[in-house]
């Protein structure tokens, strides 16, 4: 990317960051718990507002009506929104991850993906459902049969946004334990059975369902048998936005802890005057700055279209999501009993941080895959 292109890119990204910040402040702030179980307000309303604001089209190609921005742009938006409500960010993330799988497939099979893009860029196709909390290794994919028309049968557990989405991007395999592929399925069609919304620890706005499929027509995305490769590429790109969600949670937690500690009196002084509290705040601030630096460096690599950002992005997602869990728990601790109550945002951040840790698969599995790649490169 040339310097002028980069400058234009940055301007556009900044505009979207401002948009996300404004969206979070106007639409989410003060309403966060209304999108949580038992759901005082319907989540579909906020999805519609986000769609109208263009937040679901960030990584949709320009010629399909999207903005065509890359992972760092998505990350900026995720971070801004997650400081207020990571559940909303998880909805955007799930949709964007599904789009990114299509984009990865389109890199090598553009023609085949044209129809897919036509379907998913329609207004009623937002948001897309996807199993964003798991890696393919964790879940046995549904079985695919048929030649000219593929039919999918089996279980599709923990499908994020599955309750409200028309389409889902799902893995499917022709043989048990065989190579898998990705497909687009219509969740409004016959043969689709959905459970009630799953009550999750965090990201409750991003409701998931268990789905059972019975001979449901499925459109192949990209080339058959390339699912694992597509997932890895998507995971590399989407790890940056995933990290940004964790970072946003950390920033929100720190901001609330800092403000509270300046107001809360204990022992005849505000608690910010206690060195034990200061130490906690210091550790939180250090982790946030380290995470920011880390994501900034990876963003630069992505902007330069370098493949060097891919590996570190996954590492960052693992590390920052771990840090967010610790930090969000400390964020509750600074507020003491108040931090444990819904009157403040800390308890939700603690739950969301834990849920964020499972984005694109469990961290243990991600670590094993990460080191496997390094061992292969080292030819051991």
């Amino acid at each position: 990317m040339s310097r002028s292109e980069l400058a234009a890119h940055n301007e556009e990204r900044k505009a979207f960051n401002d948009l996300a910040r404004s969206f979070a402040r106007k639409e989410l702030s003060g309403h966060v718990h209304e999108h949580e179980y038992p759901y005082v307000r319907t989540v579909s309303g906020i999805v519609e507002t986000a769609r109208e604001a263009g937040l679901f089209g960030i990584n949709l190609p320009l010629d399909s009506g999207g903005t065509g921005l890359n992972a760092p742009a998505l990350a900026g938006i995720m971070e801004e929104i997650s400081t207020v409500d990571a559940g909303m960010a998880a909805m955007l993330f799930t949709h964007a991850a599904a789009l990114e799988l299509i984009a990865v497939a389109a890199d090598t099979a553009e023609d085949r993906c044209r129809t897919i893009y036509q379907l998913v860029s329609a207004p009623d196709a937002i948001p897309l459902a996807y199993q964003s909390y798991t890696a393919p290794e964790e879940v046995e994919p549904p079985e695919v049969s048929g030649e000219s028309t593929c039919l999918m049968s089996g279980k599709l557990p923990f499908l994020a946004l599955g309750g409200m989405a028309r389409y889902a991007v799902s893995a499917g395999a022709r043989q048990k334990d065989g190579e898998f592929s990705y497909y687009l399925i219509d969740l409004s069609g016959d043969g689709v059975t959905k459970s009630d919304s799953i009550l999750t620890m965090g990201f409750q706005a991003c409701q998931a369902v268990d789905v059972t499929l019975d001979n449901v027509p499925a459109l192949l995305i990209g080339a058959e048998g390339n699912g694992q490769s597509y997932f890895r590429k998507m995971q590399s790109r989407m790890s940056l936005p995933a990290s940004a969600i964790s970072l946003g949670i950390m920033e929100g937690s720190f901001k609330e802890a800092l403000a509270y500690s300046g107001q809360r009196w204990q022992g005849n002084r505000t608690i910010v005057e206690w060195s034990a509290v200061r130490m906690k705040l210091a550790e939180m601030a250090v982790q946030i700055d380290v995470a920011r630096s880390c994501l900034s460096g990876i963003s630069l690599a992505f902007d330069a279209a370098s493949t060097e950002g891919a590996g570190p992005a996954v590492a960052a997602a693992i590390h920052i999501s771990d840090m967010a869990c610790i930090l969000a728990s400390e964020g509750v601790q600074v507020l003491g009993g108040n931090g444990y109550m819904k009157d403040y945002g800390q308890e939700k951040r603690m739950r969301d941080a834990r849920q964020a840790r499972s984005l694109l698969g469990m961290n243990g599995l991600k670590k094993m895959n990460y080191i496997e790649r390094i061992i292969e490169e080292a030819d051991l």
């Binding site: 964790e138 620890m201 022992g267 206690w274 509750v332 009993g337 444990y340 603690m350 469990m362």
Partner: protein
């Protein structure tokens, strides 16, 4: 470069040292052998109660409170009451069934291995009982605890809560050095025949479900340490009402209540502790008041630790169950070494937590305010004396001023400072270490379970939500760390001060 500046603080190992924490060695020959049997009985009882009552209610109750924060699990209380759980650990001399109080820890651990929230409904009641006992007012203790027993027989759960935390004063009320400067608001003003109370208390465990409330407040809110008073307020008294119920992250079954006092008249016969009651002792009322609030954490904090051990266990068991049935990329998860290491760590945490809280239990049996109950002669005499004899012959003695005076002298004057320090520090150590291990185990379990662990219907995520509260109530773990430092380490070092930092650590 090594500094040549002389140290201003020197650590002396004289007095309390690490060896004093091995209470089990001393307990081997000091505590009655019978308590072993009662530990087993308590565990057996808890397991049966878990199967019959807790397991079916655990997730249902949690979800129900999420849907309706006003929901109170009265069905659970009724079943616990039918099982006699609210009097089982009340001493026989006060009308209870007299199971040794140390076995309550084992019982609570078992219950918490299924549901920490429901377990805490029972734990909170015995916190109230312990606080009432710490007033050393045998007359009112006898009256209230016999009321609990009487109501139990009628089928009415009669719980006791501790009402202490205030909106602007939590931690600073619990620590003696901070109490004089605490921003308390709840005041009891002496009037003819009693006191008039105004103020409010928050985060009161099981408040809405309790019949009696051990209210700790102050005659002069500007001098809380000098004017501490404990009153027994009964639900329904004029001027007393329940405020809002907190919306908590976890332990949802155990309501956290606001208690409101508006010109609430509390008669003299409901005064559990006041400075007048201790005016004939050889210690000041202030010292006696601090002893009241300093005595009970040594026996109640191991209870919180036992909840922590139970949650740790639940986490470990959930992770094992999950890993045994989960396959990833065709491989059984439990056969992966990194998973085996994590489970081994969790298992070790469970064993360590149990060991720690049992050490505190042994210490409580030898050095706390309940130590008399574990003197062998008294223990067996109590065990084999029929309840009616206590009612007929012993109970009336509690009304005698001389008996109360001697009992107060025993606990307020004749308890060694070293034992008090030991119990206080050990209570803190037990509480923060076991509850930290609970949170650690929950996190490890969720690491192994991935996204499946975050599903409410899987039952695992609830434990992390529940565990977090353990690090906060009965003094945050940070404050308990400072207390341990103060009681076991810092006090031997001239020049060391605790809670007196003024610079906020700035240099």
């Amino acid at each position: 470069m090594v500094s040549t500046k002389p140290a201003t603080c020197v650590y002396h190992s004289a007095g309390l040292g690490f060896t004093d924490t091995l209470n089990s060695i001393e307990a081997l020959h000091r505590l009655p052998a019978r308590i072993r049997t009662e530990f087993h009985e308590a565990r057996k009882l808890a397991r049966r109660f878990n199967d019959e009552v807790l397991r079916p209610l655990c997730l249902v109750t949690d979800r129900r409170v999420m849907e309706d924060n006003d929901y109170l699990p009265r069905d659970f209380l009724k079943k616990a009451n039918e099982g006699g759980l609210f009097t089982l650990w009340i001493p026989k001399m006060y009308g209870g069934k007299g199971m040794n109080m140390l076995s309550l820890y084992t019982f609570i651990e078992e219950l918490s291995s299924v549901c920490a929230g429901l377990a805490n409904l029972i734990g909170a009641h015995y916190l109230g009982v312990s606080v009432l006992c710490s007033s050393c007012n045998m007359k009112i203790t006898n009256r209230i605890l016999r009321d609990v027993a009487r109501e139990e027989k009628k089928g009415n759960p009669c719980l006791i809560s501790l009402a202490w935390t205030e909106p602007d004063a939590g931690t600073d009320q619990f620590e003696a050095p901070l109490l004089p400067i605490a921003k308390v608001r709840t005041q009891a003003v002496k009037v003819a025949g009693g006191y008039v109370v105004n103020g409010s208390k928050v985060f009161i465990s099981a408040g809405h479900l309790s019949t009696w409330h051990m209210l700790i407040c102050y005659e002069d809110v500007k001098k809380p340490a000098d004017t501490l008073i404990m009153l027994a307020v009964k639900t329904g008294m004029k001027g007393f009402s329940f405020g809002h119920k907190e919306q908590k992250m976890g332990q949802k079954a155990c309501v956290a209540s606001e208690l409101v006092f508006e010109d609430c008249f509390v008669p003299d016969e409901h005064v559990c502790f006041s400075k007048e009651q201790v005016s004939r002792l050889n210690i000041s009322p202030k010292e006696a008041g601090l002893k009241v609030i300093g005595m009970f954490p040594g026996i109640t904090q191991p209870g919180v630790a036992a909840i922590g051990a139970g949650v740790s266990r639940a986490a470990c068991e959930a992770a094992i169950r999950y890993a045994a049935q989960k396959r990833i990329a065709g491989e059984s998860l439990i056969n992966q070494e990194w998973v085996q290491l994590a489970i081994a760590d969790m298992y070790a945490n469970v064993v360590a937590a149990r060991t720690v809280y049992m050490e505190a239990a042994y210490a409580a049996g030898m050095k706390s305010m309940i130590r008399l109950l574990f003197e062998r002669v008294l223990f067996y005499l109590t065990l084999y004396t029929p309840a009616w004899m206590f009612t007929l012959l012993v109970s009336p003695l509690f009304n005698l001023e001389i008996v109360n005076h001697i009992y107060r002298k025993l606990n307020f004057e004749w308890t060694s400072d070293e034992d008090e320090r030991h119990m206080s520090g050990l209570g803190s150590l037990t509480k923060f270490s076991c509850t930290d291990m609970a949170v650690e185990n929950r996190a490890k379990a969720l690491d192994i379970m991935g996204a499946d662990g975050t599903r409410h219907d899987a039952g695992a995520e609830k434990l992390l939500r529940d565990a977090k509260l353990l690090q906060i109530y009965e003094g945050t773990n940070e404050v308990n760390r400072i207390n341990l430092f103060s009681q076991h380490i810092g006090h031997t070092m001239p020049g060391v001060r605790v809670f007196e930092e003024r610079s906020g650590g700035r240099r």
